[in-house]
């Protein structure tokens, strides 16, 4: 990651934005020890992701680089870092909070957009094809119960999730 852009985009309030979100509450406790980075299976195989760097940039307020960048999407959500953090920072959850902010601002990777559409359309993020569903009795499986997609849509509308997805479609 580059540090040259700090002057233009630094906003000290960004860490407050993160701590005010579900999952982001603990980010301020970080003293940059690097236990997370040394526990991270992804950081071991690529320079594109390092949890300590993501937290540092967020605390420095380099918001644009964090939310528009690739790094936050490379966390594999294994929670190793979170288990081992001596400051009990919920690091994997902080990454979720950062992704949630990115999503809200329209930085949405295609695969996540597909998950969101599938959820809205079928009530499942992985669609069960008619072919597979019809094959169930021949395998000795009971029929699939209907999904509660109508109730789910009411929930997605109450939280504004359905609007998040539109942002991507407009972009």
């Amino acid at each position: 990651m580059k540090y040259g852009k700090e002057e233009k985009t630094t906003s000290l309030a960004f860490s407050d934005v993160v701590t005010s979100r579900l999952g982001g509450e603990t980010i301020n406790r970080c003293y940059q020890c690097g236990t997370c980075a040394s526990s991270c299976p992804v950081a071991k195989i690529t320079p594109r992701f390092n949890p300590r760097e993501v937290i540092k940039l967020s605390l420095l307020g380099v918001k644009d680089e964090v939310v528009s960048g690739d790094a936050i999407w490379l966390c594999c959500s294994c929670y190793n870092c979170q288990e081992r953090c001596p400051q009990k920072i919920e690091i994997a959850d902080v990454i979720y909070a950062l992704r949630n902010i990115a999503f809200k601002e329209g930085y949405i990777p295609n695969i996540y957009s597909e998950f969101a559409s599938a959820l809205l359309n079928d009530g499942r993020i992985v669609k069960v094809s008619k072919f597979i569903e019809n094959k169930r009795p021949t395998l000795g499986l009971p029929p699939l119960q209907p999904t509660g997609v109508d109730a789910l849509r009411k929930i997605l509308s109450a939280t504004g999730f359905d609007k998040l997805q539109q942002k991507k479609e407009e972009a």
């Binding site: 979100r21 579900l22 299976p41 909070a97 949630n100 695969i111 996540y112 993020i125 669609k127 939280t159």
Partner: protein, 291 residues
Amino acid sequence: MTSYALFLGCTIPARQPNYELSARKALAKLGIELIDLANMTCCAPPPVQSIDLETSLAIAAYNICLAEEADLNLITLCSGCFESLSMANAMLKANEQLKAKINRILSQAGKEFLGSKEVKYYLQVLMDDVGLKRLKRSVSKPLSNLKVAAFYGCHALRPSELLKLDDPERPRILENIIETLGAKSIEYRNKLKCCGGLLRGYSDDLALSLAREKIANTTKAGADCIATLCPFCFVALDIGQIQVKSKFNETYDMPVLHYSELLALALGIDPKELALATHKIKVDKVISKIS
């Protein structure tokens, strides 16, 4: 007979009839009744948590509400479902303010989360409701010749503070079950490291690098098969071997079985009833070692 509401999720009905069949048949044989409830949805796993954590909690809570209405505890077969439902259940039970917030959302769908039920993982049901002693007595085809590389994946164990399945750094629950079935559980390098499954679709190369290491390490350790808990790990390691072959030109032939399939086989269930053709890496070698 103990009864549970079955939370089936997405990946299992969409792609893994082998897992579903083994779980239904094994649990029936062990006296655990599964009830299929209508109107369940996606559990809201990490991909949905990545989009909006609050929504994911509300979706998980909605599904728990269905079990509460049916007066049943939930059983999940998938680690992703276990993580999201169990995490939501624990968080909402512990935090009144958060519970009130989520209940305001749920009221739009006519639901209210009470926090009156438990979310259990398949493994926990085996330990708590069956127990290793009775499990051992139920084994009719011990897996005596089999060396099994147990693989936990991530979301059965972590975040441990909320999931409380086992020690996240030194778990034993899966090895104990494998050994109760008569097999030998073997050690291998970086056993607890992630399979990379959740990076599939965003960064396939990195996902495959992580899966490749797991396949290489279990092969080097001389395992006859890998036993997975989670449907995502199963995909990453089973289909992953086909992808490793085309990308790295490395051929592995490491059968990957859900521990539930090993359980069903040890309980004497006919392999023909288990849709084993679903596996990309053939499991014939494993079956012939058992029978």
